[in-house]
Amino acid sequence: MRYASYIVPATALVVIGAGLACKPPKTQEQIQQETQAAFNEGVQAFKDGKARDTNPYVNDKENPHKAKAWFDGWDKAKADKAEADRKAAEDKAAADRKVPEDEARRKSEAAAEAARKAESEKLAAYRRAAEAALKDINFALDKSAIRDTDKPKLQAVADFLKGFPQAKVQIEGHCDERGTTEYNLALGERRAYAAKSYLAGLGVAEGRLATITYGKERPKVQGKDEESWLVNRRCEFKLQ
């Protein structure tokens, strides 16, 4: 019995020890969970600024997967950060380049816009002036003499041409539908020349006045009455 006091605890120890020594093997699922956990720890360790050789599992010979997963996590975190840094640097560089370009473009666009606006306002003013000044003059039947009532209109044409020294005008001579095609072409030529010659008399350089005859080929209105015929016996002044 005296040995019983040794045997019983010893046995107990053996039993417990055996129990401890014969732990059941880990399942696949457990290993995966441990791997993931170690991986996350590695990631966190990198983020916390710990060195790579602080891997706590490096000496755990029973769980080599933990050590490997920890290293993988740390490496991945480092690679991710390097990539993110590179990208950020690139973006920054691009942004740095872009700023002066945008600035320059904005400036030139604004200038062009202003110029365009000024130009179109000028053009619009020119067109308005032309529209106001370039009115048809009309003629008596078979005649090409300038009528007294049309002289103020020709003065307005001359004033317009003096106001816009770049402007050139083509004078179109037209006839009403009566009479022959060819004779009316000749008559239209006469009417255009009569207007040109009158404008030259008002001081407009002849080089700024072209003439063309359309005879009766391009009537302004289609009616067959005195009023329509008078409208069609005309000179038109067209900007060139």
Binding site: D142, R178, G179, E182, Y183, R218
Partner: protein
Amino acid sequence: MNRWLLGLLLGLSQVIWAQAPTQEVVLSASAGSKLGIAVPSPQVAGIGEGQAKRDFHDVLLRDLEEAGPFAVLKDRQPKAADASGVKAWVEAGADWLVSVKLGRPVVEGADRVARTVGDELEVVAQVVDVKSSKAIFTKKYRGKDAALGRIAHSLSDDLVARLTGEKGVAGTRIVFVRQLSPLIKEVFQVDRDGSNVVQLSHHRSLTLSPSVAADGRLAYMTYKGGPPEIWGQRRVAGAFERLFPSKNGPQGPCMAPAWSPDGKRMVFVQGDRRGNTDIMVLDVESGRARRITDSNCINTEPSWNPAGTQIAFTSDRGGTPQIYLMEDDGSNVRRLTVEGSYNASPSWSPTGAMIAYVSRFEGKFDLFVYKLGEGKSYQITTGVASSESPDWSPDERRLVFSSGSRGGMQLYATDLSGNTLRRLTDFAGCQSPKWTRSR
């Protein structure tokens, strides 16, 4: 004072003259002196009777009516089956009886089965002088279905030649200007009977005043380059090219070209940039042009005489547009028309004996013919609307012109009596017709 009075009296007498232009109408051969011709419906085999009527018989009847020397029997015709019954035809007024057989030629093969040959039609025409009962003309024509109209024209021309010894004009064509849109006019041609409208110029611009040479070459004025220029063909069936102004020649708008009868020269009109227009004669081969009028006025609408030695033209040198004649070097200018305040658009007839023109009377224009031998004018049309641009048929029997009776200008042709006035077109916007044998 006396001179004032005299001037006033002269002026008054001119006004009175102007109010009374010649109203006489040319009377050509009346129906009584024409040859009565009967053309019963053809005997048809191998094609539809409707096709034969539309494409051949109707065409032939119209050709014969417009030809001039025939009075075509229309009513009270004996049946074709009675063709041998001479008396019935004489009573109906026929001098000639034209019998036509129309079909596909048939041959009997070695197997004694009749077959049609090819895809051609055969037209056999026989003319019997009714009074003597003798066949005086027999001819066979062949052609595809589409050529039936041309065959009818050939037969009509052959009958005219048989009767008069002259060449008929049934197969001739008319070149004219047609408006395609408000800013575009182009040169077209149409058969004498109004069929086969074909566009000739393609400038998509204002193109006017066509002229056709005796060999078919075309010329016209066009605005395709801005101011009007003369364009045309230097060679038969050649490309259209600019004929005037040339680079080194005088500039100014060019209008109203007309080929000389020999086709070597061209008369046209050029503006002098001082509002005047002058007649120019161009040597087409060398490109050199000579100004043959030089006055401070309008000179335009030149028309050659058939010998190519004189030119008729319109000028306002006397104050109003009138027709003048001159030699082709510009000498010997003399005024032709003396009545009226607007005489223009002269067209010299193919034999040189007459000049057709237009004259304004009571605000509208009518066609007149001036007979040079008589020194007198005859009025041809008395329409309610203006008639313009007369031009002669090659046989001098008819005039083609444009007139705007209803909804725009169309083409018409008439004999000098006005008895066979026909409209050629069924579309508006037509002007400046020129009648030609050469296209």
